[in-house]
Amino acid sequence: MKRSSKFILSTLVFGYAFLYVPLVLVVVYSFNSSRIATVWGGFSTRWYGALLGNDQVLDAAYLSLRIAVTSATFATILGTMAGLALARFGRFRGRTLFAGMITSPMVMPEVITGLSLLLLFVSLQQLIGWPGQRGFSTITIAHTTFSMAYVAVIVRSRLAAMDESLEEAAMDLGGRPLRVVFDVTLPLIAPAMVAGWLLAFTLSLDDLVIASFVSGPGSSTLPMYIFSKVKLGVSPDINALATLIILFVSLGVLVAWLASRRASPP
């Protein structure tokens, strides 16, 4: 028993080091004044200044944020409907196909999702003339499609873990199903919807491959910009950008974690 717990402890230490050392190093090297990203040339914040003066980065970041907010909102609405349908509506016609279509986008290789959606958009354009230009709208649709799956799964598992008795009680007291959904079910699954929205938002900000397929000339998302730079090797301003993202995300997740701990003491 002793030996096995020592083994577990050392894998935990190794595993967490494996996950975090690369990120810490990116943060450290973002303050490197040397142009050669891997040689230490003293402390400096010049790359942060360069980043703020780079219009390409700012434009790409703005586009990415707009897409992420819009697609996460659509994904939350559609995904919540889908989660409710799967967890509460019993059997309906086409349920198997529906359940399959909900979970498949989560594991589908991105190259396939991206290619298939682009071909759809091209065909639609030939048929009805829409979308005339690929960019914000097509990327938003693509992101909504794969991230609604995650929202649906989160909402559905929340509903599955939740006792139906509250909803039944509300019905017994004369509440109509639609009112019960809005007055009882939705408030109860609100945390799951928030978690789903945040996940959808992150997935959208994270996506490179699908956006590369469905975007048109002139609309570059932040990951597309980063990829075009990173292809050429390690660069100090990308280190600075990565550091900002790492710090921002870590802070957000930490605050959310502390808030949820306070809300539900162990």
Binding site: M1, S4, I8, L9, T11, L12, F14, G15, F18, Y20, V21, P22, L25, V26, I36, T38, L78, M81, F89, G94, A99, G100, M101, I102, T103, S104, P105, V107, P109, V111, L115, S116, L117, L119, L120, I141, A142, T145, M148, A152, A160, R176, P177, L178, T202, D206, L208, V209, P223, I226, F227, V230, V234, N239, A242, I245, G252, V253, W257, P266
Partner: protein, 299 residues
């Protein structure tokens, strides 16, 4: 009267709640696959869009299996598919080897530590995937941190070639997909009663035996889910092999991307996607079965 009206409205609402996401998925998930299939049966032409229509101007059906016979006859594609499956499989095993003891340790940790440990597993997932892969480029460069460190302590005299190798691809895949392995494993291990192992050991089973006879079978749904969640997306991975792998080591995601964007051969790219999808049908169905079984077990 009023009640009937209200009831009808509720039913209508339920139908809307099913139909809206249903139609969305039909249009933006299922129909695109039909289109891929259609275009994979066309021939490439220099036009906009660059493939022949399914029904020609003379009204004849323009369907050809040329792309598929080409894929099957050219050894390069077969080798690439095989390499992709192999590399994804090895990455899956690496994730399992590291992820299982980690998930086990987290599941057995004290309550107040456990949620922090889980948070630290999920946190990298929220940080851009691309930037996490990028972080390894700085580590594995010939002048990167690992080589500088090894040179400084005198283990090596010349920098190791770490970047642009299969080794780098394995590191990148394991690093990126590790959370997908740990989370489902944790979910099953956490449900497991630790008294069972103790009981097995009290009855004289060695720790190894107790592991293989008690822990492993109980963790199996998590192992299957974790492995498939890593294996399926890893097969089609594009970014990691592009940034960390060597240029000669082609993987199928890269081939598809290049056929489409570089060679502009849309029908062949579609055919590559169709074959990849056929390879993935079995693991995807397995995953959904496993998930359905797991849900039945919970509720």
């Amino acid at each position: 009267m009023n009640g009937v009206h209200a009831h009808r409205r509720d039913l209508l609402w339920q139908q809307v709640a099913v139909a809206t996401p249903y139609l969305w998925l039909l249009l933006f998930f299922l129909v695109p696959f039909v289109i891929i299939l259609k275009i994979s049966l066309a021939d490439p032409v220099i036009a906009q869009p660059p493939f022949t229509p399914a029904v020609g101007e003379d009204g004849r059906l323009g369907v050809s299996l040329d792309n598929f016979t080409f894929l099957l006859s050219d050894k390069l594609y077969a080798v690439t598919y095989l390499r992709s499956v192999l590399i994804a499989a090895i990455a899956t095993i690496l994730c399992l080897a590291l992820g299982f003891p980690m998930a086990y340790g987290i599941a057995r940790a004290r309550e107040e530590v456990r949620s922090l440990l889980l948070l630290l597993i999920v946190l990298p997932f929220w940080i851009s995937f691309l930037l996490r892969v990028y972080a390894w480029m700085g580590l594995m460069n010939s002048h990167g941190v690992i080589n500088n460190l090894l040179l400084a302590i005198g283990v090596i005299d010349v920098p190791l070639k770490l970047m642009y190798t299969d080794f780098a691809v394995f590191i990148g895949l394991t690093y990126s997909y590790l959370p997908f392995m740990i989370l489902p494993l944790y979910a099953t291990l956490e449900r497991m009663d630790p008294d069972l192992i103790e009981a097995a050991q009290d009855l004289g089973a060695s720790p190894t035996r107790a592991f293989w006879d008690v822990t492993w079978p109980l963790a199996r749904p998590g192992v299957i889910a974790g492995c498939l969640l890593v294996f399926i997306p890893a097969i089609g991975e594009y970014v990691i092999p592009y940034l960390l792998g060597g240029p000669e080591a082609l993987l199928i995601g890269r081939v598809l991307f290049d056929e489409f964007f570089v060679n502009r051969d849309w029908p062949l790219a579609s055919a590559v996607a169709v074959v990849l999808l056929l390879l993935l049908v079995i693991p995807i169905v397995m995953l959904q079965r496993n998930q359905a079984k797991d849900e039945e077990g919970v509720t």
